[in-house]
Subunit: 280 residues, 2 copies
């Protein structure tokens, strides 16, 4: 694997960072995970926008404009000879003195790696609720920081319970999102997902699913729900950039029904993925 | 500076990590910051205990038993020729495949660095409340993870408002802790601090201050308070391993009174620091 690190393309074993990088010391960074198909990073503009928004909020200077980042991504795809894969972009605040203050830290570290295409998507996910809560209204929820210990712990908890993904509730007791995915459910024929104010990440695939609902004339809404809402839903599914849309077959070991609307959304997603990645 | 990294002592510029280390990618690690005086890591047993507890909770294997860690710390102090300093121990889950699952990750990465002694402690801190909330009852609050983006953002916010430290409230609206410190206040002659259930880190210096209260026969209690509690307190102070006890002179740009009990605790802290670090 060829990795882009701070302006250079190097082999994986030479992709090295200072042990004083604040990404390592404090999770003080941002990342994006982008599906690459036919050499095209899917929904690039949306990922780049979220990265820029995060950089502004955290006052973390991006080492290059996103247009230049895009051309380095093209070069990374070329050098790896990997037209289909998963791109991970990580920007950290770089090395800095001890402590939390960002004064005197930097310059930012930029790492981009192109991983092989994800394994085939499972048909469904078994989901277990986590004991970890997200903060309703969290001002940082809108940006994808590298501080994911909560999400890692939630996923670990879920896997220990033989589930594939964790469902996190927020501090108001509302269902919020998965450890690495956004949550949707079908209720009265409507596609529902928690609003961003629930303290969730504005997922790129989440936004796409809402677009697809409009395209398919499916009624959609952002609304808060509880575990009971999910148990009574006509279907529950999760979204993420690497796999798109995954229906949940079980929540807390209780079976969930399958909604044919999820099949329609999955088909529309696949069509959109093909269309947008064969444009160039 | 000589740095310990994965079993080796190397110079600072050779302390390098894989860009695929989950500490860097996901803040998936733990750390401790330990004051070293006269070659003695102050409150070692307490720091080691918290690190072990965190490792158990996150299922993150420590690369060596804490007894061996202690002897490597002694060697690090010796090699740096620095009897007084600040030790940072970082343990991350090490390199791993993409994604949150801890399956197939590791071996753990261990980095220890001995930084020069902290600059002289400021007499007081000006404190500003943060817009970021901590989760009351957070099951992860008890361990010191490397996922500190919230704390970094809170400190950044505070510094932008010309304050030295941020005060974070929890999701129940109670005062919780500083970005990098624990909170205390004096109320009716009693030394008060939020209970661990407020979602705070069990600070090593926080625990020591509670011990010192017993020693000095000062009444102490763990109780929840609000911003109003602090504005009406006889004194407010913060605790942290590098500096001990720092009184707050201002909160939200409103002056706070100074309690002579804080002077007594500071003196007792200094005595204890001297006593415990001249034993060996």
């Amino acid at each position: 694997m060829v990795v882009f690190i701070n302006g250079e393309f190097v082999s994986e074993d030479r992709a090295l960072l200072s042990a004083f990088d604040r990404g390592f010391l404090l999770g003080d960074g941002l990342f994006e995970t982008v599906l690459v198909q036919q050499r095209v990073p899917f929904r690039w503009a949306q990922h780049a926008e979220r990265l820029q928004r995060g950089a502004a909020l955290l006052r973390l200077p991006l080492p290059m404009p996103v247009e230049r980042l895009r051309s380095q991504v093209a070069e990374l795809i070329r050098r790896n000879g990997l037209p289909d894969g998963v791109l991970r972009i990580t920007v950290s605040r770089g090395p800095g003195p001890r402590g939390y203050s960002i004064a005197a830290a930097g310059p930012s570290t930029l790492v981009m790696a192109l991983h092989p295409a994800p394994p085939p998507m499972p048909d469904t996910w078994r989901v277990a609720t986590s004991s970890i809560r997200l903060v309703a209204g969290d001002p940082l929820a809108g940006v994808k920081t590298c501080s994911k210990a909560c999400q890692v712990a939630a996923r670990t908890e879920a896997e220990a319970r033989d589930a594939d993904e964790a469902l996190l509730l927020n501090t108001d007791g509302q269902v919020a999102e998965g450890a690495g995915s956004n949550l949707f459910w079908v209720e009265g024929g409507r596609i529902c997902t928690p609003p961003l104010s629930a303290g969730i990440l504005p997922g790129i695939t989440r936004a796409l699913v809402l677009e697809l609902c409009t395209e398919l004339s499916l009624p959609a809404c952002e609304s808060n729900g509880t575990l009971e809402t999910l148990f009574h839903a006509e279907g529950v599914f999760f979204t993420l950039s690497t796999w798109g849309i995954i229906p949940a077959s079980e929540l807390e070991a209780r079976p969930l029904p399958h909604s044919p609307l999820v099949d329609r959304l999955q088909a529309a997603y696949q069509t959109r993925l093909l269309t947008e990645t064969s444009k160039t």
